[in-house]
């Protein structure tokens, strides 16, 4: 069964190679068509495989043995089960739409730039598919770092830009930060891999999961925690980095320096959800280890609420969406952390639709506003950009959990799990749901409603071309209907499809209470958001108070990291390690030994006077000493 999976990967590989090697010489339309065509072919491949998966026909496919040394061996092998199938469909489908959108959005780039963009974009989807289709943790790590590379390349796509006044960062800086912060997470992932290998002797999913019970009752490894606890916790460190949770979320807001299609694809719809996929994929381990309720879900829910405060105060269109993404990822971790793996994955999917859509509308707005992202200079855009506005409203309603739109189903399932297991998590989640509605409709009211705040920009604003609005419409339809169509209600089609892979846990009875609470808070948030922020002038918006100042300054987390970690390491390396230890101590000893030899030579050479009488005297003295030593004198 090589054919279908080859269909997923090979077109993208071809796209990467052709655009990557020849790109600068290809006409722009060709680069774009190649990139989109490769992506479309890959999406088609993902669709073709669906019936095979539900028929149970596709197992693991070993392509070649990647590396082997001693008892260690790992294959390049693909796994195509229900979970990877769903992930592949989401990834290729949303990516395809965004590839098309980008042809319009990036049309101002030159030949070299456009082909470079599509090379990176195709390479990203390729890596993302490796991540979700690999049948072992080593291959997952390959995809994991691969998407990190593409994220680096795409955030820094406009590499020659400098810091603009008023901005906290700029593309090449943001790209570097993203990669390094992710590497910190990857460090945990890597150690988890080593731990799994020493525990199970393999890295393959099925082999590990079927042996997981063995490790469960094993001896405590460190600090009284069993090895399985460490494995899952360290894996989660990786997830924290990739999926931008506390304390490693700081790279994601900066990543908005990348082109907006990149933000939509990588930093909303696909890559950042990799951590959620990882936990869902490892559900057997998490269920046994019990790390979910004690670690994953709490981190998720705190992140969800914390990030919402920053989304509520940001004046940057994409900034609001970035913090919203961090917050929504937190929800997904609450789902998978509390054993509601299906709910977590469902929210992953609906979020890919509505957040991808939100970012694309943001791109449409930026396109119209000449790259001005400050919402204080917007206002009244609904009159200029009707399609963008309507699709934005649909997405905003979906994320706010408006009844029967997609977000409603997935968020409700997560909050239900929280309600059944932990009251504090539920209430924090419900409040965050209210905040979600509030910040989305604040954004809507400021940017799209009321009067324009910058007449010149407003006059020039225009609706985007069809190549950009068409993906908006498709995603809007998906955001609105996915819940009902795909069966996201309890025991619906979606959950049944995934049932084999994700071991559903049921805690207590189903109840409508959490749904009513969250919908009520959501509706309240929407109304309050519109009422407060509609028609506000710039001065009124700027009028800060004690409550909003801190979250608007991003709680000074970046500054704290800089002062507590980055600066000290840097300065200590420069002044202590290099200038002092290396130059003075270590090299000093080396030079001192050489100098000592030199000095001794300098003294001894005085003996070589060339005067025969001196030598005779020395011989005599030597003879006397010798005789004395021998006891003859």
């Amino acid at each position: 069964m090589l054919a279908p999976t080859a269909l997923l990967f090979l077109p993208l590989l071809a796209g990467v190679l052709i655009n990557g090697l020849l790109g600068a010489k290809l006409p722009k339309w060709f680069s774009a068509a190649l990139g989109c065509g490769a992506m479309g072919a890959s999406f088609l491949g993902a669709l073709i495989v669906v019936p095979l998966v539900s028929g149970g026909a596709v197992g693991d496919q070993v392509l070649w043995t990647w590396m082997a040394a001693g008892s260690f061996s790992v294959d390049v092998a693909l796994k195509y089960d229900a979970l990877s199938c769903v992930m592949a469909l989401i990834i290729t489908g949303v990516s395809f739409l965004i590839h098309i959108y980008a042809a319009g959005y990036m049309s101002h780039e030159d030949e070299r730039g456009l082909s470079r963009f599509y090379t990176y974009l195709n390479l990203f989807v390729f890596s993302m598919l490796v991540l979700v289709l690999g049948n072992n943790y080593a291959l997952m790590f390959v995809g994991w770092e691969g998407v990190g590379l593409c994220s680096y390349l795409l955030i820094g796509f406009w590499y020659d830009r400098e810091r603009k006044t008023g901005d906290s960062t700029y593309p090449s800086q943001a790209a570097k930060k993203a990669f390094i912060v992710n590497r910190i997470g990857d460090f945990g992932f890597l150690i988890a891999i080593f731990l799994m290998f020493t525990t199970f002797g393999t890295l393959q999913f099925d082999a590990i999961f079927s042996n997981a019970q063995i490790a469960e009752g094993g001896p405590a490894l460190m600090w009284g925690k069993p090895v399985l606890w460490w494995i899952t916790a360290l894996l989660f460190v990786g997830a924290i980095g990739k999926s931008a949770q506390i304390p490693l979320y700081v790279w994601l807001p900066d990543a908005m320096q990348g082109p907006t299609p990149v933000s939509a694809l990588i930093h909303a719809a696909t890559m950042v959800t990799a951590g959620v996929y990882m936990v869902a994929r490892s559900n057997v381990l998490y269920t046994l280890a019990g790390t979910g309720p004690s670690l994953v879900a709490p981190v998720g829910i705190i992140t969800a609420a914390f990030a919402a405060t920053m989304a509520l105060t940001s004046f940057d269109f994409k900034g609001v969406l970035a913090y919203s993404t961090v917050s929504q990822l937190g929800y997904m971790f609450v789902g998978v952390g509390l054993g509601a793996y299906g709910a977590g994955v469902a929210h992953l999917m609906t979020h890919a639709f509505f957040k991808g859509l939100l970012f694309l509308t943001a791109g449409s707005v930026l396109h119209a506003m000449r790259d001005v992202g400050d919402i204080r200079r917007m206002g009244g855009l609904s009159r200029k950009m009707p399609i963008t506005f309507v699709t934005f409203v649909v997405a905003a309603l979906a994320i706010a959990g408006f009844p029967f739109l997609s977000g409603f189903f997935s968020k409700d399932a997560i909050l239900l799990a929280a309600y059944q297991q932990s009251q504090w998590m539920f209430w924090l989640g419900a409040i965050a749901a209210g905040l979600t509605a509030l910040y989305m409709f604040r954004l809507l009211a400021i940017a799209f409603l009321g009067q324009s705040r910058d007449q010149k920009l407003f006059d020039a604003a225009h609706e985007s071309p069809w190549v950009m609005t068409l993906p908006l419409i498709v995603l809007a339809v998906l955001s609105a209907t996915a819940g009902a169509v795909l069966g996201l209600h309890e025991d619906g089609l979606f959950y049944r499809f995934l049932a084999d892979v994700l071991n559903a846990e049921h805690h207590g009875t189903t109840t409508m209470t959490p749904m009513f609470i969250s919908v009520a808070l959501g509706l309240a948030g929407m109304v309050v958001g519109i009422l407060i922020y509609r028609g506000k002038s710039v001065d009124q918006l700027n009028r800060g108070n004690a409550i909003s100042a801190l979250p608007r300054a991003k709680w000074y987390v970046d500054e704290a990291y800089d002062a507590a970690i980055v600066r000290p390491i840097h300065e200590a390396s420069r002044w202590v390690l290099w200038r002092f230890v290396d130059k003075w101590i270590i090299d000093g000893i080396v030079n001192a030994s050489a100098g000592a030899v030199y000095a001794v030579g300098g003294v001894l050479r005085n003996v070589q006077t060339g005067v025969v009488q001196t030598y005779a005297a020395l011989i005599l003295a030597g003879a006397v000493v010798l005789l004395f030593v021998k006891g003859l004198l």
């Binding site: 590396m67 001693g70 770092e145 590499y159 020659d160 800086q173 390094i180 590497r183 270590i586």
Partner: protein, 551 residues
């Protein structure tokens, strides 16, 4: 293909070039003469490379001839699964060095020698010939070191490497007008050259004592016999001394923290080709020596000192990375990154696991490719701008897109991105170390180096390539020429080849395997020995023995 022939082919080429250089003295067309000499060196090194490729399939028959019977030394050359990749790495990098030196080597009339010397290029009437002769002689010395199977022969090749490298750095190194006041007033280049040679020789002296002791103990210099003797085990106390006699020599060469301070100096002063060879091959000599001598001959001592050596390795990994981070000079940065990367190799060698040792060997090759490529790329920039200061650049990706692309690929290979060569070695080393009992925490600390590698490399890339162009001198930088692209391309291909199909390289390492399927999962207490088989056609092999009372 006869091993002796391949080893000495570059030396023969060097002699021919030297004669050609002498007799073409009167040729008026300097450029033509220079190009002919360069082409000659290129052909010789390429032929050597092609011939050596035959060894990928199977190791050649060992060469065994009487050499100095009076002292019991034999001319014994032998290749196994470990030396084969290092051997081919050497033959692969040498033509690249010739091509990388194409632009900045040319001869000028004797009268303007000193003035021209400050160009960082080649000076002197016989500049080109001398340079290429040194390079080819160095190749023979390196190849010989990797296949010598007699202690005296090994020592001869080992010391033979020093002289050409001494000349390459000392004559063709950086112009360096600044001087240092240590030991009189010498230029930084001369200081670095002397430091490199004297430091290495200090280590070699200890090794020579060890070699003589082994001769007294076993009655032979032939490594086959010495190893057979060692299998019965030397006296423990003697092992502890002998281990250090050899290990210090190798640790200096590696260089293992804290013996590393000669490296940044030597690299900064060396010409591009010198840096490529130094980082690509010569540093591996130390690690190779550890595999070939320290581990198999003194296994008890190696096991005893493994934790201590591993601590030094881990310190080196983190220390090298942190110091690399704050370097203002690109070459110095890459040099300190080598200290960090070589720490991984030593860590893997002393892990005592197959994964760790094989990972270390792969890492030796990988580091040769990646760091060799980095030095080459820095050299290309130096050719254009005559500076290596990071702060002199910025935004040059705009002017040199192809160069930037290659540089970024090599950077990520150096960072150890999966799919590139850098990942395989580091991953296996860390895995092997982690699996060694009591060594897991070493692997955890070493893995911090993986984070730091991203920090120092990406920070450099950002400052050199990204942002707007700040210095007007960078405005008219030209992108890679066809020649430069041709030199860079094979390196990039190998980066992915090893990264995607490492099994091919790993399998060859134990292709001559005698024993031992290690698939007893979790058993990580094997000691790796390299031991010869009886009989003429036997190749060295990695054998794994479980220590008494293991498991």
């Amino acid at each position: 293909m006869n091993l002796t022939l391949v080893v000495f082919l570059p030396l023969v080429g060097a002699i021919v070039l030297a004669l050609a250089g002498l007799f073409s003295h009167g040729v008026a067309d300097r450029a033509m003469r220079d190009n002919a000499l360069k082409a000659g060196a290129l052909i010789v090194s390429l032929v050597t490379f092609v011939l050596s490729l035959a060894y990928i399939g199977a190791s050649p028959d060992p060469v065994y001839r009487a050499w100095i019977p009076s002292i019991g030394s034999v001319f014994h050359l032998r290749m196994d699964g470990i030396s084969v990749w290092l051997f081919i790495l050497t033959t692969f990098l040498t033509p690249i060095c010739v091509l990388a030196s194409w632009r900045n080597t040319r001869s000028v009339p004797a009268g303007v020698m000193s003035a021209y010397g400050d160009d960082g290029g080649v000076s002197g009437e016989r500049g080109v010939a001398g340079f290429m002769v040194a390079l080819l002689t160095l190749e023979t010395a390196m190849l010989g070191t990797f296949v010598a199977y007699d202690l005296v022969l090994f020592f001869v090749f080992w010391e033979m490497m020093l002289i050409p490298m001494y000349l390459l750095i000392g004559i063709w190194g950086s112009p360096g007008t600044r001087s240092t006041f240590l030991f009189g007033r010498v230029s930084e280049r001369v200081y670095a050259t002397m430091k490199f040679v004297l430091y290495t020789m200090a280590g070699s002296a200890l090794m020579l004592v060890g070699i003589l002791y082994l001769r007294a103990e076993t009655g032979s210099f032939d490594l086959t016999l010495v190893t057979a003797h060692a299998a019965e085990g030397f006296d423990r106390r003697a092992q502890y001394w002998l281990f250090w006699a050899f290990f210090v020599a190798f640790a200096i060469k590696v260089p293992l923290f804290p013996f590393h301070t000669w490296l940044p100096d030597a690299h900064t002063q060396a010409p591009t080709a010198g840096s490529i060879i130094l980082a690509g091959v010569m540093l591996k000599m130390g690690a190779y020596g550890i595999i070939r001598f320290c581990l198999p001959l003194f296994p008890d001592a190696a096991l005893f000192y493994a934790p201590f050596v591993s601590v030094l390795a881990v310190v080196g990994i983190i220390y090298g990375a942190l110091v690399a981070m704050v370097q203002p000079d690109m070459k110095r940065l890459v040099a300190y990154s080598s200290v960090s990367h070589l720490g991984f190799i030593v860590l893997g060698l002393f892990s005592g696991t197959n994964a760790g040792v094989q990972g270390a060997v792969i890492q030796m090759v990988s580091h040769g490719i990646s760091t060799g490529a980095l030095f080459m790329l820095v050299g290309m920039l130096y050719d254009r701008r005559h500076t290596r200061q990071i702060s002199d650049f910025g935004g040059i990706a705009k002017r040199m897109p192809a160069y930037a692309a290659v540089f970024v690929i090599v950077t990520f290979s150096s960072i150890g991105l999966p799919g590139t060569n850098g990942f395989v070695g580091e991953f296996l080393i860390l895995l092997g170390t982690f699996a060694t009992e009591g060594r897991a925490v070493y692997a955890v600390f070493a893995a911090l180096g993986v984070i730091l590698a991203a920090v120092y490399m990406l920070w450099m890339v950002q400052r050199v390539f990204f942002g707007p162009i700040r210095h007007s001198a960078n405005e008219d930088l030209t992108d890679l020429t066809l020649r430069e692209l041709a030199v860079a391309a094979p390196l990039v291909v190998v980066v992915f080849l090893i990264g995607v199909f490492p099994k091919y390289f790993l399998d060859r390492m134990d292709a001559d395997h005698a024993v031992s399927d290690l698939r007893k999962a979790g058993s990580a207490k094997e000691i790796v020995r390299v031991s010869p088989q009886e009989g003429g056609s036997g190749h060295g092999s990695i054998e794994v023995h479980a220590p008494a009372g293991g498991h």
